[in-house]
């Protein structure tokens, strides 16, 4: 039977005093209340003043317009949308388009950034110079020009839909974008999706098992062939038993454009390309700084253990570098999301374009719409930060820091 020290009796009053007043005690507490009250009062005055001014100028105010019919169309929407939907739905359409660019952009920016950083650190002279050139070129040109360049360059290079470049009669590339066959769900889809899910779970269990074997008994088990087999085999099996999961709707040229199929619009491609490449040049420098901040003895230690350069980087250097990389990387992710608002220049229907643009000018309610738009960007940024902080906390924990 072990003896544990008895915890001191809780002193709630003291704790409360500390939490609210800090070292200054109750006096500080009162001061803080006064400060918050003053802030609230200023905020209230601002809102009231704006309301009074708008009323005096007979400018409509309030958020009632969100329920009105928008009456205009949008070129890309992830959810069903037509002109007879409300401004509220326009907000959602724009938000989803912004998020789409942000997520796809963050993904590619990270991948390109890491690749370029590793290239720049590579002992290969040519590779490191090309990577260095990439960084210096891209990060020193204004983003707006890069977006316009890609947009106009991409458009200029592509033919009109009637002369589109066809790949096997299934994919069509023209200045209207890339048209691909559209998957349409068949009854076999549900078991197919379940099979994929099961394969993923099985593969991750396998990975856990292999890791445990490595840490506990030092055995190295190669699992990737089994994981691959599971990931391909199970869905294939399901397709054989329950029939094919989807059929494809083949696009065909009708009139001016393709009908049927799904389409990747050139605005999206140009915007994503430009912001990923731009942000990647900053990420590359952040990653390079992070990797170089890890003592080179770590690299040598890895080599003397017989690990390859790649394994040393992956297992020893990058995890340590991540602690340095993550905070500035988060900044870049936030920048990328906010930079996506430049979409309006090339007609990509993002939040700023359809909501702070068309909706604003149709309703004329600048204050409300700008406030909502700022709130939405703030929310996106805070969520991104929170996710990155959580990730950083996990890395810190696993490194025992």
């Amino acid at each position: 039977m072990s003896i544990e020290p008895r915890p001191p009796p809780p002193q709630f009053a003291l704790l409360l005093k500390r939490a609210l007043g800090g070292r200054a005690g109750w006096g500080g507490f009162a001061l803080q209340i006064l400060f918050v009250a003053a802030l609230l009062w200023i905020g209230y005055e601002i809102v009231e003043n704006a309301r009074a001014n708008l009323a005096a100028q007979r400018i409509t105010s309030g958020f009632g317009f969100m329920r009105n019919t928008a009456g205009f169309d949008v070129s890309q929407s992830l959810i069903p949308y037509s002109g007879s939907d409300t401004y509220g739905r326009v907000l959602l359409v724009g938000l989803l388009n912004t998020l789409l660019v942000a997520i796809v952009g963050i993904f590619f920016a990270t991948v390109i950034g890491f690749v370029v950083a590793l290239g720049r650190l590579s002992p290969n002279w040519l590779l490191s110079r090309i990577s260095g050139g990439y960084v210096e070129l891209i990060r020193n040109l204004p983003l707006l020009f890069q977006i316009l360049f890609w947009y106009l360059a991409v458009l200029a290079a592509l033919p009109n839909p009637r002369q589109s470049i066809s790949v096997f009669g299934l994919f069509f590339l023209s200045n209207r974008g890339l048209v691909v066959p559209k998957p349409i769900a068949d009854p076999g889809l549900e078991p197919f999706a379940l099979a994929i899910l099961a394969a993923i779970i099985a593969a991750s269990l396998l990975r856990d098992y292999a890791r445990r074997a490595l840490f506990e008994s030092g055995r190295v088990i190669t699992i990737w062939p089994y994981a691959l087999g599971l990931l391909i085999g199970l869905p294939l099996l399901s397709a054989l038993i329950f029939g094919k999961p989807v059929t494809f709707e083949i696009p065909e040229l009708k009139g001016f454009n393709f009908s049927g199929g799904s389409r990747l619009i050139p605005e999206f491609v140009a915007l994503t390309l430009a912001i990923s490449m731009y942000t990647a040049s900053f990420i590359a420098e952040i990653v390079r700084a992070g990797i170089q901040s890890v003592h080179k003895g770590q690299m040598e230690a890895g080599a003397s253990l017989g690990l390859s350069r790649g394994s040393t980087l992956r297992l020893i250097v990058v995890p340590q570098a991540l602690r340095v990389i993550l905070p500035p990387l988060t900044n870049q992710y936030l920048n990328l999301t906010k930079n996506s608002s430049l979409a309006v220049a090339i007609g990509y229907p993002d939040l700023v374009s359809v909501f702070a643009g068309t909706t604003l000018s149709q309703t004329g309610q600048a204050i409300e719409i700008i406030a909502i738009t700022m709130g939405v960007y703030l929310l996106i940024s805070l969520v991104t930060s929170a996710i990155m902080s959580f990730y950083g906390w996990r890395i810190g924990r696993s490194l025992g820091a």
Binding site: Q57, S75, G255, N257, A356, I370, T373
Partner: protein, 338 residues
């Protein structure tokens, strides 16, 4: 971002200012010695800087006419080019005294923006510009077309209504600026460029080969374009409104830039009232008795301004059409100066 921050500044101004709108715009303008006029960002015939950097166009001439009536000097105008999106905020915030930027008069704009339309400078309608090589002769053949528009205008709603009504599909690509819209159309991103017909003629001039593009015959909307002032200053509203009326009345009475001095000596009672040799109509508006003469000397009558900027005497060569005087088959009509 630049555009958003502009709107933001205006919004902040509206939030922070206390009782910003003075009901004394005329006095403010006189004290400043300069009229602040919101115009377009470069629409040939309506508002665009010429090769010497002087603003010209029909919308610009309205501003010059107001300046002439107040200062007897049509150059005392500060032109502020505004995008379609920013124009109302600029007016609401007091950044400009009058907005003369081919703006369509609609009920919602008249009621909800805290601003008033003062008249119609140009009766327009929305049309379509297409490449001749597409061999399209009617807007009804545009099913499944891609359409480029400028965002922040009445155009997007008209477009949606028209295609819906005629059961046609289309794809809309909306750009923030007119220039980018036209560039995208020219690069082949869209089959069609749509805006007010006058704008189509103006933008067609900017294309590499204007003759390869045609304006389709359909006009799908009513777009009466006119100047706007802030709500709540009736004196200023009257002055801007009557400046335009004076230009139209001058044309009807046959007063031109050339003959204005002779006409001013006329004994006709009507002309005496107009030129202020009889009565003090101009002073009732808050300006001088010879206000009409000042306006006509500066920019000419409505017909002259029209011809010089968008009509037969300009590169656009648009016919008078609806903008002809009421007694010559058009609908331009101004109440009498009396």
């Amino acid at each position: 971002m630049k555009r958003v921050s502009l709107v933001l500044t205006f919004a902040a101004a509206a939030v922070l200012s206390s009782g910003a709108v003075s009901a004394q715009t005329l006095k403010t303008v006189q004290d400043r010695g300069m009229l602040s006029c919101g115009v377009g960002q470069g629409l040939a015939g309506f508002s665009s800087p010429d090769d010497k950097g002087n603003w010209t166009g029909l919308d610009v001439d309205v501003c010059r006419a107001i300046a002439a009536a107040i200062f007897n000097d049509p150059t005392k105008v500060k032109f502020i080019p505004l995008s379609a999106k920013d124009r109302f905020t600029a007016l609401q915030s007091g950044e400009i005294d009058v907005l003369s930027r081919n703006t369509t008069w609609t009920l919602s704009r008249d009621t909800s923006l805290g601003a008033n339309f003062t008249g119609v400078t140009y009766y327009d309608g929305q049309g379509f510009l297409v490449k001749k090589s597409l061999k399209v002769n009617s807007a009804l053949e545009l099913n499944s077309a891609s359409v480029c528009v400028q965002t922040g205008t009445t155009t997007e709603q008209n477009l949606a209504d028209y295609f819906k009504l005629n059961n046609m599909k289309y794809e809309v690509i909306a750009f923030a600026n007119e220039d980018e819209t036209v560039k995208a159309y020219e690069s082949g991103r869209c089959d069609v460029f749509t805006t007010d017909v006058s704008g189509l003629y103006a933008e067609r001039l900017k294309l590499a080969n204007p003759a390869d593009h045609a304006v389709l015959p359909e006009v799908i909307s009513k777009e009466p374009l006119g100047p706007m002032v802030r709500h709540g200053d009736d004196q200023w509203f009257d002055l801007v409104k009557w400046t335009l009326f004076a230009m139209v009345d001058a044309e009807e009475l046959g007063i031109t830039q050339k003959n204005v001095d002779e006409m001013a000596k006329s004994d006709k009672p009507e002309l005496k009232r107009v030129f202020g040799t009889d009565g003090n109509l101009g002073e009732q508006l808050g300006v001088t008795k010879d206000w009409v003469a000042r306006i006509v000397k500066a920019v000419g009558n409505y017909g002259e301004a029209f011809d010089r900027n968008v009509g037969a005497g300009s590169k656009l060569g648009i016919a008078r059409g609806l903008n002809q005087l009421w007694n010559k088959g058009g609908i331009q009509y101004a109440p009498p100066i009396r």
